[in-house]
């Protein structure tokens, strides 16, 4: 029975080697960064890098959520609408006299509830995820526009604290009393993003939720026959996506100190693009949080860099769209089925 004895390597071999795909993506990110640093003035400055991180953080968080969903071979098109609804609802609740922090928690909760709704539509009514979330995208957008009459309204001042404050800000006061900002500080949004990356990386790699998401996306029937409660774990991934969309919603509302019922339109596309650029497969079963983070930062660096070089928003769309296609094309070419032996 002991023909194959365990050796140290077989135990150590557990960690999958960093795939070539993620290496290429990361390389592309570094290359972009270097190119823009050389070509665009003021690109590689502390202030600009921080701004970029701030702008990208929301894409990253939405991307993480949709990565979980896509890994189960699902999709979430309602992200942008959830962003608008959660932010708007939080502002309305705060304006009704509820403390801002509590209103924000409620906003995030509403996002998670929207995710739960998506999950139930998909698992109970057996709707294809594309259809279910396409429907909820329209419904939720309709709801937020209806309750606000499409008007944005200001929030209480302290509602803006979360997204407009920074940590590690270093200020020097000169002798003449003038204030000189040495380091502008890191936005809370970026810190929250980093926290989310850590939490959901752990969740995907080290917990049942992540393992089962990958198993379900790779082979749903085998997962079911292994006793995995497929529906439950699918719903969990949609709740994760809804939660993170809700979080982005309240952060954006906090940053503007206003509700934005028309905000967030098309955000799901950036989120999906960041996941896909980061190597997540729409067929399910494949995807990493690290990849999505890199994917979102490629989008962020591209749009900031191109803006600084004077490219219009429209031109940026062309470039980012091309990057999505290129990223997946590279993946496809690398994964051409190898001819098998007889």
């Amino acid at each position: 029975m002991n023909e194959v004895l365990p050796n140290k390597e077989s135990l150590a071999g557990k960690r999958a080697p960093v795939s070539l795909g993620s290496f290429i993506t990361f390389g592309a990110f570094v290359l972009l960064f270097v190119v823009f640093s050389v070509t665009a003035n003021n690109f590689f400055t502390v202030r600009n890098v921080l701004t970029m991180a701030l702008q990208t953080a929301t894409i990253t968080m939405m991307g993480i959520g949709v990565t979980f969903v896509i890994i189960t071979a699902g999709i979430d098109l309602s992200i942008g609408s959830v962003v608008a609804l959660a932010g708007t609802a939080a502002v309305m609740i705060a304006n009704a006299g509820v403390p801002s922090w509590l209103a924000m928690v409620a906003g995030v909760g509403i996002g998670a509830l929207c995710g739960l709704g998506n999950g139930l539509l998909i698992t109970r009514l057996r709707l294809p995820p594309f259809i279910a979330t396409l429907g909820s995208m329209m419904i939720l957008r309709g709801v937020v526009l209806t309750i606000t009459n499409a008007n944005s309204s200001p929030a209480p001042d302290d509602f803006g604290n979360l997204a407009n404050n920074t940590l590690f800000k270093v200020v020097q006061t000169a002798d003449d009393g003038s204030v000189n900002t040495v380091f502008p500080g890191v936005s809370y949004i970026v810190l929250i993003m980093i926290l989310m990356v850590l939490i959901f990386s752990f969740l995907l790699k080290k917990t049942k939720v992540g393992r089962y998401a990958i198993a379900i996306g790779s082979n749903e029937e085998a997962s079911r026959l292994s006793g995995i409660k497929v529906n439950r774990y699918k719903v969990i991934t949609y709740i994760i996506a809804g939660f993170l969309s809700g979080l982005v919603g309240i952060l954006l509302a906090s940053r503007m100190v206003t509700s934005q019922p028309n905000g967030g339109i098309g955000y799901e596309m950036n989120a999906i693009a960041s996941a896909v650029i980061g190597g997540t497969s729409l067929m399910g079963g494949v995807g990493t949080i690290g990849g999505t983070v890199i994917g979102s930062f490629i989008i962020g660096v591209l749009s900031t860099g191109l803006t600084m070089m004077g490219a219009s928003y429209f031109a940026q769309q062309i470039v980012i769209g091309s990057v999505v296609i290129l990223a997946v094309a590279v993946d496809q070419i690398r994964n051409r089925p190898k001819k098998r032996k007889g």
């Binding site: 077989s10 071999g13 049942k208 939720v209 393992r211 085998a222 007889g342």
Partner: protein, 503 residues
């Protein structure tokens, strides 16, 4: 048998790290059915792919109708009259029979519009030549697999094929359907078509085969007329050694302790009043024709499909199993027939597959998986079951069929299952590796598991089981004691010729 129509000489083919074919030869005559036999990895499929242009040989010559040929694509081979029918059918489920037969070669009217009338007429003519009564307008998806296969044959025929390669054509067919297929093959042979026939089912060769060629480990071994070589000799040559004992000796006797009791299990149109007991230490066979409800019985016991009524008792206690996870909690494991589709997540690793059904055992802290515990658990079963894998992080996709089956067994042992239901446990597994699976089943029985084995291979049922349930059309036709029965008796019950009652 006529003249040699297709000849391969000194064909070699190397893949990175593997010499798939080493100077092999093969010859096909017109009007002959020539079986190509060998274990998985013997090089049969590679040679077939070279013959039909899917792959190209590194060296060697192909001679077709007296001319040296080299096909660079499957289309080129097809134009010359060589067709292949793969194990997985290449048809479009939502198109009609006729549309499938002429896919890519649709007749057009003078206006350049699809000419459905001519299409259906041409298809009818071809189906007629095969003596098939099929409406060419039938949507393919509505046909049983066997008929779909006939459509694939019709498609090959419509291209005026003179050489037809069939890769495991009977693997998904029932006995009756196989007979029908054989009739078609006989018809083609009489018309002078040369047929290369690949199959793992040696017992069916007698009905159709003229000659047998055997490959082993990428090398050509022999070619003989059928009838001049015994099946034992065929098997010896395939595995390269004599397999005197195809089955391990059963060392234990089943106890009289009932592990699993089933009464009157029914599901409308599928299962009809099934009752039986499974004893500790027993291997209980489940025989029957395809569609008799054997897999359905297993899935019902495992909670994968609902039941209308019936009672299931485990260790004397009544249990209600409504989902696979409930079945697993009660100690039932199901090793499905379709390992890659249902038993394993082939893109995940050996370790991940072994722990999949009992992840909580390696995730003690609120769902956080302990990498160390997971590897220890996986290693335990890799060692105990002699799973040949370079590492625990190997994707199961890269393992052989036998080792994949062992991974599934490991998965259920890790769940501490007490009842294991094997569904066609050796299908698609090499002759040599089968024995290892049988040994494992024997060991499980000896250690006090209750083992059920669904199998279409009666020698396997007779060689391994203590008793055998014979199913026919969703009913239990008979419960037989294996030592007191034989192949013929099982078949008479399975085919419904003899209607018995269950014990």
């Amino acid at each position: 048998m006529g003249d040699v129509i297709f000849k391969a000489q000194d064909i070699s083919k190397t893949f990175p790290g593997v010499k798939a074919l080493d100077r092999v030869q093969f010859e096909l005559r017109t009007g002959e059915v020539h079986a190509l036999l060998g274990e998985n990895g013997a090089g049969k499929s590679t040679l077939m792919k070279i013959l039909c242009g899917v792959q190209q040989a590194d060296s060697g010559t192909l001679t077709y109708k007296g001319q040296v040929v080299r096909f660079s694509s499957i289309n080129e081979a097809q134009e010359k009259g060589i067709s292949i029918i793969f194990q997985e059918l290449n048809l479009v489920p939502h198109l009609s029979v006729a549309q499938n037969i002429f896919l890519g070669r649709e007749p057009l009217t003078s206006l350049g519009v699809l000419d459905e009338k001519t299409l259906n007429a041409n298809a009818s003519a071809i189906l007629g030549r095969l003596n098939l009564s099929l409406d060419p307008r039938t949507i393919l998806r509505t046909l049983p697999i066997s008929k779909q296969q006939m459509v694939e044959i019709a498609k090959a025929l419509s291209q005026e094929s003179e050489v037809l390669i069939m890769d495991e054509p009977t693997s998904a067919l029932t006995e009756a359907e196989i007979d029908e297929l054989f009739e078609v093959i006989h018809g083609l042979r009489e018309r002078g078509v040369g047929i290369i026939y690949i199959s793992h089912r040696l017992e069916e060769l007698q009905h159709i085969v003229d000659r047998i060629s055997i490959f082993r480990d990428g090398k050509y071994i022999s070619t003989d007329d059928y009838g001049k070589i015994s099946m034992d000799e065929v098997v010896n040559r395939m595995v390269g050694r004599s397999l005197e004992n195809k089955f391990p000796t059963r060392a234990n006797q089943p106890t009289d302790e009932v592990i699993l009791g089933v009464s009157n299990l029914s599901r409308k149109g599928v299962l009809d009043g099934i009752s039986f007991d499974l004893f500790r230490g027993e291997i209980l066979g489940v025989a029957g024709l395809m569609g008799a409800g054997r897999t359905e019985l297993a899935r019902a016991l495992f909670g994968a499909d609902p039941v209308d009524h019936g009672e299931v008792r485990l260790f004397g206690k009544r249990v209600h199993i409504t989902s696979p996870s409930a079945a697993i909690d009660h100690g039932i494991g199901y090793l499905s027939e379709d390992r890659k589709g249902q038993g394993l997540v082939i893109r995940m690793t050996v370790a991940e597959n072994i722990t999949m059904a009992n992840l909580s055992a390696v995730a003690p802290n609120g769902g956080v998986i302990s990498g160390r515990r997971e590897l220890e658990a996986a290693q335990r079963f890799v060692t105990a079951l002699s799973i040949k894998t370079p590492s625990l992080a190997q994707k199961v996709n890269n393992l052989s069929g036998g080792n994949q089956q062992k991974v599934v067994i490991g998965k259920w042992l890790f769940c501490e299952s007490k009842v294991l239901i094997f569904d066609e446990p050796t299908r698609g597994i090499d002759v040599g590796a089968k024995f290892a699976i049988y040994e494992l089943m024997e060991k499980l029985a000896r250690e006090g598991f209750g083992v059920m084995m669904i199998s279409s291979e009666l020698p396997e049922i007779l060689g391994m089981t203590d008793r055998v349930l014979v199913m026919h059309q969703g009913r239990l036709a008979a419960t037989l004691v294996t030592r007191q029965t034989n192949q013929e008796e099982i078949l008479t019950y399975a085919s419904g010729i003899k209607k018995g009652s269950a014990e």
